[in-house]
């Protein structure tokens, strides 16, 4: 049986992989996918704590899962808006490489 710590470790590992993707990659679409991975890793933590925090009535704490539901909703909205911004950016600059987007560099 997997314990709470193992779930938390997997969640931290996924978050770290997503962070590495955000730092290393130069393609803005892949950066965006890595952000999604980080969000999903955080929701694994919430579900694990929800399941391991048994309430007095013998059931999991469903507040955590409601929170995950809201996170998924916000992530869907975020992806829609973010991809629309990427398309607008591509129309204006003809690039999705973040190294080329340096007009605000001091």
């Amino acid at each position: 049986m997997a314990s709470l710590h193992e779930f938390l470790f997997i969640s931290g590992l996924l978050f770290a992989i997503g962070l590495a993707g955000v730092i290393i990659r130069r393609n803005i679409i892949v950066i965006f996918m890595s952000l999604e991975l980080m969000l999903a890793a955080a929701s694994l933590t919430l579900v694990a704590f929800s399941r391991f925090h048994i309430q007095p009535d013998g059931l999991p704490d469903y507040n955590g899962q409601v929170f995950v539901f809201f996170i998924i909703t916000v992530a869907a909205a975020e992806v829609a808006v973010g991809l629309a911004i990427i398309v607008a950016l591509y129309r204006a600059r003809q690039t999705i490489n973040v190294e080329d987007l340096n007009s605000m560099r001091g």
Partner: protein, 212 residues
């Protein structure tokens, strides 16, 4: 949750994440992302969060992946030249997440999870025991009152052939009783996002002066 299933889905999620970062082609990255999210959904279902697991597959592996693939197709990025990664960036991208993992490991090692961290199956027996321990719905002899026996959750768990946790019922109950106002705000948020996307992706007739 069986330990083998846990390791299978955990490895699936982690390998999918690593491939997402490692693949050069954005389409391959999107498919690796789906692999990772399927692994995560398996972990959710192993944690008795059936509703969240299914929503994860429907929304992430269905809608969001299609959106990513569609945008990649729309931008037509097949002539992307191979980019050279700066060694300082790669170093930062390896060291900072590694520090994070070491920190998580340190916290996990230093904290003894005890009995609370063990995975315990939820059955009708554990539900009855918990109700007795916490003096909920029990009479003076410690027997559960008919209220517990009659509750739909208890009946569903006590079903002889296929006992299952009525997870969706309970989440619906939690959302609509405790989080009704946030749910309506979510509806407004989705509407605002929809309108925002339509406005953003509308090609204006005359070119904006700031766009070069």
């Amino acid at each position: 949750m069986h330990i083998l299933a846990f390791y299978l889905f955990a490895i699936l999620a982690v390998v999918g994440g690593i491939l997402l970062v490692a693949f050069r082609n954005p389409v391959s990255s999107a498919l690796a992302m789906v692999l990772s999210f399927i692994g995560l959904a398996g972990l959710f279902i192993g944690l008795n969060a059936y509703f969240v697991g299914i929503v994860q597959i429907l929304v992430y592996a269905g809608a969001i992946m299609v959106l990513f693939i569609f945008i990649i197709m729309l931008l037509d990025l097949n002539d992307e030249k191979p980019v050279k990664f700066k060694s300082s960036t790669v170093l930062a991208g390896v060291v900072i997440p590694l520090l994070l993992v070491v920190q998580v490991l340190g916290v996990i090692q230093s904290h003894n999870q005890g009995e609370a961290g063990e995975f315990k199956e939820i059955t009708a027996e554990t539900m009855k025991k918990s109700a007795q321990e916490h003096y909920l719905r029990t009479d003076e002899n410690g027997e559960p009152l008919p209220l517990l026996e009659q509750s739909a959750i208890y009946k569903s768990l006590a079903h002889e052939t296929a006992p299952k946790l009525p997870d969706t019922n309970l989440i619906g109950h939690a959302i609509f009783k405790g989080y009704n106002f946030p749910l309506q705000i979510m509806g407004a948020l989705l509407l605002v996002a929809t309108i925002g996307v339509v406005v953003l992706s509308k090609r204006s007739a005359k070119k904006a002066p700031s766009a070069s």
